[in-house]
Symmetry: none
């Protein structure tokens, strides 16, 4: 059946594409986007220079794709969070840890991708800056909304939820960078790291802090 043949061909095509993309991630990771050469990528896969351009429009377009892959990874994971039925701080804590662990695991599995995102993405080309800004904006807005919901349910205290959102984002990303990308936090199991983050988030949002403010 020709369909089968086509499927086979498609499969082969996809496999080659992935191979090249993975090689590119390695090269970008090792040398950075600007120092990365297409010749290095194809060489490490063992195909000719021209083959690269059968699968990607060019070096920059490929980077864009890699970036998108990463962002989708993160968004998909984070969006799996559902504040729906959460109505106690204990449930909230559990849920935050669950999502935090998922994210940590996903990023650990894609360590190079994560590193490229944090180190290179803003410095490749203006158009990607825009993409990334939008990503952070979306993330920030999403978390801001979550915070507002949690507040309405009496789970967190009142504060500037947008600032809170970006504090949370920053907290998480620096810890991710040090832990996932550089392995620079000693060797606590990931769960301990995530629990610290969640604890800190929760503690920083209890009513108790109102006393401190006065």
């Amino acid at each position: 059946m020709s369909t089968r043949g086509n499927n086979r061909r498609e499969d082969r095509r996809d496999r080659r594409r992935d191979e090249l993309k993975r090689a590119a991630i390695d090269v970008f990771y090792e040398h950075g986007f600007h120092a990365a050469k297409v010749s290095q990528i194809v060489q490490s896969v063992g195909v000719a220079q021209g083959t690269f351009y059968l699968y990607f429009e060019g070096k920059q377009q490929l980077f864009g794709e890699i970036l998108s892959d990463f962002l989708e990874l993160v968004v998909t994971t984070v969006a799996s969070w559902e504040p729906g039925s959460i109505d106690t701080r204990e449930l909230l804590r559990e849920e935050l840890v669950r999502v935090g662990m998922m994210l940590t695991e996903v990023l650990l599995e894609n360590q190079r991708l994560t590193a490229i995102f944090f180190k290179e993405a803003m410095a490749v080309a203006p158009e990607f800056n825009e993409t990334i800004r939008q990503f952070y904006e979306t993330l920030g807005a999403m978390i801001t909304d979550f915070n507002a919901i949690l507040h309405r349910r009496g789970l967190i205290t009142n504060m500037n939820f947008r600032i809170l959102a970006f504090m949370t984002v920053g907290m998480a990303e620096r810890v991710i960078l040090e832990h996932v990308v550089y392995g620079n936090l000693g060797d606590p199991p990931p769960r301990e790291v995530v629990e610290h983050l969640v604890m800190h988030f929760l503690a920083g949002t209890t009513e108790a802090i109102d006393n401190t403010q006065t």
Copy 2:
């Protein structure tokens, strides 16, 4: 007097150097390091291409200098903090706000520099990655120590101080990025932003949190 003559000459030299460096910051800020051209820098100062090399070894070396300037700015400011006499949480809070405000002001005054640091620095060349890693390591270690001291004084609860340190760093830098670089936090006065950060830090480190954990 020859000394005076030399001084004059030195002054002129320094002034030109600064002029070029400032122009470079603008160009790096606008186009990013890799897209920035030496020709743009010299053009905006109005000197010839060759003149650039009388003052700097090259584009990358200049970037290194700019990076150092920024790091020194931050280190100097942060290092002005002295946990010495702090013995109550209220004093701690005040002191943290003071330092936070200083840092915020310094970075606001050097907004372009700050932007370049966060967006470009990791993607220029491997050697700068090293510099920056060391900077973060130093910063992390310093804050870890501070945290330990504060704990010993009964001002904060027991936890993994290193994770706490990087959480704090991340919290601060993301908020700085959004606030100082992108003006993306609405327009709360800087003080409000800083106070939120400090509040959150303090709340996240009180004994009270132990209850939540149980």
Copy 3:
């Protein structure tokens, strides 16, 4: 019958060849030889890239064939002229108009081919220059001979018949280019254009001109 089968196969083969050649003419016409891509040609026929090379040795060889087709077209048409029985200027005029009309019609029917010849042919490859030079040389020599014959019959006056031949060629080809290729001569019917050409040729070759010269 195997003969029949072979014929069928031959037919199919020829049909496909022609299809490709026609597509090539369109692409050469639209983009010019150098900007024309083999991929565009095969795509417009709906066959695979490799198929192209089953029918032609390559892009340049195909161009050569197209060029030959055009030259043959012209030569065949022009060669249909027979000064044989012409013995009055009126007959000469009629015959010239007849041939001119035939040529005009043939070129109008092959407008793209004509355009490609005039615009591209000399700039494809040195070997084609040679072909074209020979074509013009043949054409020039032929017309020179015709002129000599006409002169011997007292139909045209004495002059440098070779210069006259190329004047005639040039007159015709520029008018063809403007009329056939660019439609740039307003919309006189082709016959008017041809009659102008013939008139001019004849007038420029009567004895009468001797008076003017004096």
Copy 4:
């Protein structure tokens, strides 16, 4: 005086530019635009590859400049014609010969330029096609107007002056091509060639032809 220094520098700059342009003409002439390599051009001048780009934006822009040079050469020469005081056919003849000789001389002096124009110009890039079409349109319109004027003065008979104009252009350019570019007209002195052209033009435009038309 700095002015002098600048002049010197300008001179040197212009000289180098011309050197490169002349080399380019040779290379374009010899290999055609598409086969011509920038490396060949710079090599023949003895400068580095990059130097080329100090003087020209690129290979194609340079071609555009060469083309403009040629067109200007022709236009300037042709435009030197002034039908102003011409009121007899003899004067007309003399004036046409004069302009024809000027053009011939100019083109002979720029033989390679002329060859490039006729062989390559239409096949380099679409934008140049436009330029050239406009050139011919201008030329055609100019000559059409001249013809109308000459007719009003009773110097030439009535006919389609636009067709006549393009016939004249074609006559001239083919003869130029054969004579100037290929030296293919035997070795009559240029004057003889020009006089043939003029004679033919004049004869083809006398009242006498009206008889032929009837």
